[in-house]
Each structure stands twice: as structure tokens, then as C-alpha cells.
Symmetry: D2
Subunit: 135 residues, 4 copies
């Protein structure tokens, strides 16, 4: 079920994810899953979702998932992002980005990320983040 702006029910706009996310968004979130619609301004010269746009979704989703697990930690920062492009992301598709945080220490976090477009997996990614305690 989509609302007037074509967003599946339950997804709410991300409002605190920084200026770049706002600029390329709106992005949405539901139960820790990031969602987005592929719009004309997200495309590359081949007419599909640009790699950098998809990497942005991946980076946002990792950052939020790791911050959510690192309760009481003040800061997380991307160290290394490996993004594999399995299939093109068509214009108009609804994207959902899932992250699994596999390991979180006081210094580092590791995770796996999967992006689906209307149900097909189009991107799979890994990340290492640095974590710094706020205390």
C-alpha cells in the first residue's frame, strides 16, 4: 500500500541524517530499514540508479544501524565500504536497505548490507566503521 508520494505504509521520512542525505533524499525509515524511490535525479548516464547514490544509501544505513547498536557511543565514522553492484536499479523502483551488524567492539564495527529494488537484490555491501565512546 502506497501513500500519495508512493511510499509503502509505515515508512517515515529521515529527518536527522545530515545535509547530503537531505539533498539526495527524501529517504525513509521503517524499523531500521532505509527506503527510497529511484527518481530521475538519481540516475547515471545509462538511465539506472547511479553507483554513488546507492553507496550513499548503504553508508547511511550502516551508520544508523551501528549507532543504534552502540548505545552510549557518541560517534561512528566510515572506515571502509565495499559495495558490489549485482544488478541495475531501475527508475521508479522502491529500494529497501537492510543492514546486519555482525560485530561491534569499543573501537570497530563490521556489517553486511543488502539493497533490494522492488524485491530484487541489486547491491550487497560490507563496511568497517570506527566507533568512539562518548564517555
Amino acid at each position: 500500500m502506497l501513500d500519495a508520494t508512493n511510499v509503502p505504509s509505515g515508512f517515515a521520512p529521515l529527518t536527522d541524517a545530515g545535509a547530503f542525505v537531505e539533498h539526495v533524499g527524501p529517504l525513509y525509515e521503517r524499523d531500521g530499514v532505509i527506503g527510497a524511490r529511484v527518481e530521475a535525479r538519481h540516475l547515471n548516464v545509462a538511465g539506472t540508479a547511479m553507483g554513488g547514490f546507492l553507496a550513499t544509501l548503504v553508508d547511511v544505513a550502516f551508520g544508523r544501524a551501528i549507532r543504534a547498536e552502540a548505545e552510549g557511543e557518541s560517534a561512528v565514522a566510515t572506515v571502509s565500504l565495499t559495495t558490489d553492484y549485482l544488478r541495475p536499479g531501475p527508475e521508479g523502483a522502491w529500494l529497501e536497505v537492510h543492514v546486519e551488524v555482525e560485530r561491534l567492539t569499543g573501537r570497530l564495527a563490521f556489517g553486511d548490507c543488502s539493497v533490494h529494488a522492488d524485491g530484487d537484490e541489486i547491491v550487497r555491501a560490507r563496511a568497517v566503521f570506527a566507533v568512539r565512546s562518548s564517555s
Copy 2:
């Protein structure tokens, strides 16, 4: 020497790099080097250049460098991008993105990419691209 819009001399706007690059840009190019100024809308919640913005620069620079070497080839597509974040990219910094294509076959291309912000290396990346002949 900067022009009125703070772009080092010799850099010209990229005009044919697709809708997403136009949306996050303007980006610039000089002798195969991609350039960009870190603006307020490129920032993350920590106030530095967002990882996805930097990955976008990396992806664009790889795509253009590989296409330039693959003369007569019609299409290149990102297969895998590994982006390492060495230092934060400050607001206002001038970014330059250099790519070295190490290997280009009829099917695949490999490369190394370095992003400097006002002279400091802030990102280093690797990519594998798929290459398809147009003939």
C-alpha cells in the same frame, strides 16, 4: 588561482555525467582529474563530506577514466567499489580525484583512486568495472 566560483583555473564543469552527478554537483574536470568544492549540502551529521558524496566522486572518476581508455567500447558499469576513508573532508575544501587504470581487458577493468582535499589524501579506493564492447 581561483575564479569567481572558487574553482582552480583550468577546471571546466562536467556536463555529460548524468542526472545524479548534476544533482550533487557541479563537478569539474581538468586533464582527466575530477574536482569539486565541499559545500554545506555535501556534509554528514559530523559536519564533514558525507561518505556517499565522496563515493559518488570516486565512481564518476573511475567511470570516466575507464571509458576514456576503452576507446570504441560502448558501455562500462561499476561491479565493485572499495572506498577507504583516511581522513575527514572539511567543508570548503577543494577536492581532486585521480584515477589510475591498472588493467583493462575486453571484459573487466581495474583501478586505483585517490581523493585529496586541499592537498591531503582523504580517500583511497579501488574498483572493478565491467566493460562491454559496442561492436
Copy 3:
């Protein structure tokens, strides 16, 4: 249940995986899962499983899983391997290596790999392989 050589039941020695695997092995296989015991000769200077040994397990497991899916294809070759080290692998631990092939085309394969040591995930990896049809 372990046999005389401490191998869980059902695992049989890999015999056709090439000279290097034989040299660092024996490795074992059961239903597509690669197994190995961390021996003294697999250790690094810190006394845990050496990164290159674990990368060898990952590379073998990916190669076999992709070849198994690419029926009728004659050759697969590693293009890019990203290996993340989540925890040290202790001497004496039994390792199991699982691969999921996410996407297989006539030219490329993508996959995710997980290595557990006595039940704990110690390595997570991604790979891109090249696939060439034999016909």
C-alpha cells in the same frame, strides 16, 4: 562427534582443489561447507589463524560454490576478494566456511562468505569471480 583426526562426522577430505590447498590442508567438505582444523602451522606471530590462511579457505569455498552453480561452465577465476577479520581464530578451533552465491551471470559471479570457529563468526567476506563458459 569427531573421528580419529578430530573431524566432525560427514566431512570428507577435499582431494581435487589444487596443490596449494593440499599444501595448507587437509581441508574437508560436507554438503558444500568447507571445514578445517586450525593447526600450529596455520598460525601468525600472534598465535592465531593467519589472515592468509583464512583468505585461502574463503577463496577455495567461493571457487567451489560458484563452479557448482555454473554447471557446464569450464572456468571460474577470482577477480576481487574482500575479507574482513571480525575475531581471531584460535589454535585447535574447527572452522566451517559457508558461501552464498547471490548472483551468477554468464560473465560474473557475486557471493558472501562466512567463517565460523567453533561456532563464533571470525571472518566475513565478499567476492567477485569471472566466469567463462566452456562451450
Copy 4:
């Protein structure tokens, strides 16, 4: 100029790199460059240097280069290794492994690695290592 065991002059055997390196070696070192001869026991089923063997060289070379720069630091550990296979490594070839450490903080190190076989670049890699002060 090769000595009796076919090692270019100036390269001396690595003797303190741990049991796994000893098992797959001998490896050699000259001025921070790791060297090795591709022997029959290093091969995969295709008859070229096995991916895991090459990843072992890369991991060793990164570890030694980072430890050399992190003077006074007691421990370095591989966090993430991305290894790209540009060309096959032929049996009998002499391999040289060069590492550039791009960034070293009190917690992390980043580097780029290149492996040449008789002069041709066959592997290019990136690594993130964790660094822990001994003091």
C-alpha cells in the same frame, strides 16, 4: 642476478613471520619488499598462483610495513583486506610485493599493495589494520 636458489641478490629469507608464512614459504625480504618464487605447491587447479597464496603475501607485506612504521606499537592486526587479481601468476615467476602505508593513526592503518610477477602487476590490494599501542 640469481643465487643458487633462484633468489635475486639482496633478498634474505624472512625468519620471524610466523608458522604459516614459514609453511608456505620461504619468503624473502629486501628493503621492505617481500619476494617469493611461485613453486608447484603454490598453484591452484588452473596451474597458476592460488588466490590464497597471493593473499598471504599481501597480508604479510602489509603487517610488516605497518609494524615498521608504528614504532613502539606492540600489535597490529588485519581488519579488512581487499585483494584484486589483475592477471594470473605463472609458475616459476619471481614475485615482489610492495606496500605503501598511506595513513597511520594510534588506532588504524591504511595501505595500498602491489604484487608484480617478473615485472607484470598481477595483484593490487588495500588493507585496513588495527594498531594497538604497547605502552
